[in-house]
Point group: C2
Chain length 325, copies 2
Amino acid sequence: MIPPLSDLPREFAFIKRHFLALAGPAALELSDDAAVYTPPAGRDLVVAADAMVENVHFLPSDPPETVGRKLLRCNLSDLAAMGAKPEGWLLTLACPKTIADSWFTAFCNGLKQDQLLFNVHLMGGDTTSTRGPLVLSLTILGSVVPGQAVKRRGAREGDSLWVTGTIGDGALGLRVLQGKLTDSSDHLVNRYRLPQPRVGLPLHGLASAAMDISDGLLQDVGHLARENNVGAVIWGAQVPLSKAAQRCGPQWLETCLTGGDDYEILFSVPPQYDAKLSQNPVLPTVLGPVAVHKIGVLTAPEKGIQTLGANGEPLIFKQSGWSHF
Amino acid sequence: MIPPLSDLPREFAFIKRHFLALAGPAALELSDDAAVYTPPAGRDLVVAADAMVENVHFLPSDPPETVGRKLLRCNLSDLAAMGAKPEGWLLTLACPKTIADSWFTAFCNGLKQDQLLFNVHLMGGDTTSTRGPLVLSLTILGSVVPGQAVKRRGAREGDSLWVTGTIGDGALGLRVLQGKLTDSSDHLVNRYRLPQPRVGLPLHGLASAAMDISDGLLQDVGHLARENNVGAVIWGAQVPLSKAAQRCGPQWLETCLTGGDDYEILFSVPPQYDAKLSQNPVLPTVLGPVAVHKIGVLTAPEKGIQTLGANGEPLIFKQSGWSHF
């Protein structure tokens, strides 16, 4: 007799039980070696992969509903930075045997909500075991009109620097969870657990270069400047902070500017588009309009990266951002 | 001043130092948030993702040159099973800080060889840290003429079952490395460390269904049968074993049939193609011709999965294959 579902090898039963409800048509019901996907005609693909490790990118105490969504949203943020439309995603898990089955039920329920919000489906993946912490790796496929992907390279001296949303909330939210800071609202913790990827941001025809802010604003400005062989001035007082971040006090400014986990978009705007954006500094995204703020300007390369305070004084920080090595 | 390469955040310097030499044009010199890739016109994409964990899929003592190649080849095997042509790959690493930089040099040198052999390039990825074992996750993109991807579903009762190459070498190679078995040649260990993905196998127009054998032949025949609602008879004596596997003796047959790590292709052939393939049981691949062997037949579903010995007697094994759960 063919074994019924309960006699499936446990790994396959696990995959079907949790992930089949997320699978789109390309996934072939998650029963094949690979997904088969017809790319949208006349478009380029944009492909990104990001991994998250328990205790590095998320905490064991984080609600499982948000852990998968955070990873999906980090990848969506990579697509948003290039002006690409999400098409589908793949997931690999290296799972310690100590995680309860119900954890994965909640993990997938969270992902289901985001699939609806961002109109994407699971295409495939792999599930394996580890004696170490949970490691999740997600690959996302998006698409863009050929030639319209916005890249890190393309900015010039004199272009202004802009960011979407507010900076530092995620980094402060982590400090709240670590007990180093209190926040009477849930805003900061929510922003740490659930980044707001700016999918749909109309960067083409506006931005000369763009990237998403994941390693800390100052470090990521450094990446953008280095890729374009320019310097940058960041006006610290112009960096948009949420009300919750402002309430933490000025001693947390360094954390906001260097802490990472923002998943906002940093983009440079040439002078000919800057005035118009300054008049109406709001851009649409698939989750609704987002305010954008001018935070600095690209300078000659020999100026390096400078952060200035409200009175033009240089701000010096202990570290510029997050590195895994 | 713009920091020179040595002042790059260490993570970025690591990526450029090791992985830039693997990057293809889609990778944008690994400096963007995502790859931009123009899919081949008029073809479907085939996408697979597989993860490997230290001490689960490879051993810390395995040469670093083969670890990355093994993962790439497992993914290439997934493409081969569907008759797809490799296009590019992405890699995420969760690295313990204890691994020396020279390990990654050798790891990437191995991958470089396989990129030449299989004509693929790195498109992107992510590098992060972990306190646990090394976890590698690889996503591969391939392409196929629309409608020509061979799937697990499509087989019918009466179709014959075929495999490429030889079965059990990888599982025996692992036992050699574990000191449970000796092999005077390096054949078994080499097959464990470096699977031979059957990329280019002309399955379309020949096979009614196909999959790659990774969890053990018997378990994977079970998967294929279940997906097609049929049963199967496997003729144990017809399963092709290498000379090195034969030298181990008949007491290792169970390991060969259930051990996994084969990365050969299991495919079903309808009666109208079976005679011709039987006359000349050799098929081309991009690495040269490979012998194929008929090992059984698909039966009515109520027969279940049976393995028969040389005299038609049922062979009963303790386990049918590998599961991570």
